[in-house]
């Protein structure tokens, strides 16, 4: 049993945060890599415009779930910000995965027809 269940009113926000955190956990660090990772792994089903991505990343950073760090890009001479999960973020990711699993366990029986 999950510690919590995703509430219907937070579906979009929670889904976006989980997708971004999972991409960070897989090693994507910069905004561009994160958007690409999510898009490629989902075969284009989930696609982030960068405009959507920044508020999510900055909100996660504010909550202490991810940590942003500035680094140099030796090739282009441009500063870029990369993100990594914090310990709190790693725990949150596990909880959210379970919460979404529980959500779908309850959701599918509700939308099945003909049984």
């Amino acid at each position: 049993m999950a510690d919590r269940i995703v509430e219907p009113q937070e579906l979009s926000r929670s889904c976006n945060e989980l997708l971004v955190m999972a991409a960070i956990a897989r090693g994507a660090g910069h905004g561009y890599q994160l958007a690409l990772d999510v898009e490629e792994r989902s075969d284009g089903a989930f696609r982030f415009n960068h405009g959507t991505l920044y508020p999510i990343l900055h909100r996660l950073e504010e909550r202490g779930l991810v940590a942003g760090a500035w680094s140099d890009d030796s090739s282009g001479g441009r500063r870029r910000k990369s993100y990594a999960l914090t310990r709190k973020g790693e725990k949150h990711l596990v909880t959210e995965r379970k919460a979404w699993g529980e959500f779908f366990n309850r959701f599918w029986p509700m939308v099945e027809v003909g049984r």
Binding site: H30, H50, T52, H58, R78, R79
Partner: protein, 254 residues
Amino acid sequence: MNGFGPVLRSLSDRLDLPQPARSRVLIEVAADLADLEAAFLERGDSPEVARARAIERLDLSDDAIRELIRVHGSPLRRGLDRLGERGRRRWEKIAIAALLIFLLLGTRALLPSHRLVVDAGRGIWVVLAVAIPGLLLAISKAYLLWGRDEHDPPRLRRGLDTILALGGLTAATGFTLWWLGLREAARDSAVSPELAIAHLLDWLTRGSATVVLSLQLAILLGISWLVLAGRTARVERGEAELLLLEQAETTKGG
């Protein structure tokens, strides 16, 4: 240099955030736009198409801007950031003046021959062991900022907050030694009650000297951090402004 000037300029106008938060968002967006453009170029798009597609993928809607403003608008952050440029400069000047006065007045107290240091006894070495790395770090950052005129925000930011942390740790060390001294005095008094007053006086002399010195060093580190962080924030903002200027000129030229 790239050609995202109008996009960044428009974003800068719409992003109602105090500095340096606005500059940081702009620098982050500029780097991602450059990445996106490079990726589209690699996939075979022409430079114009790659640039247009990168801008299309950015798509910072009004909702996204509102959310960014909300996220960066915590009361504390706003309070600090809303000092404004003139206010920030004024505070920076006040902090530098306080630092100089502190150094002038404090130098005598920090000399090894001075009574306070002698009274603090061996505890001072523990306090110094914590404070000196912070002071060296502050000196190295000051050298980067004013000596070498460094304009690389990540390099300037790296380790900056450690100075503040070491300042806090220095003060905490002083107080810990103070309490340990009290414990020692109490134990000695229990062994020889007739010398209890002498033990307590000894603790008061040593303990207060250690606390005063550790607080002086902590204040010194705190003021140093304030000055360095203020200057670094201005370098970051200058960096973003330069980015906008460069791109505005590119747009004019192109």
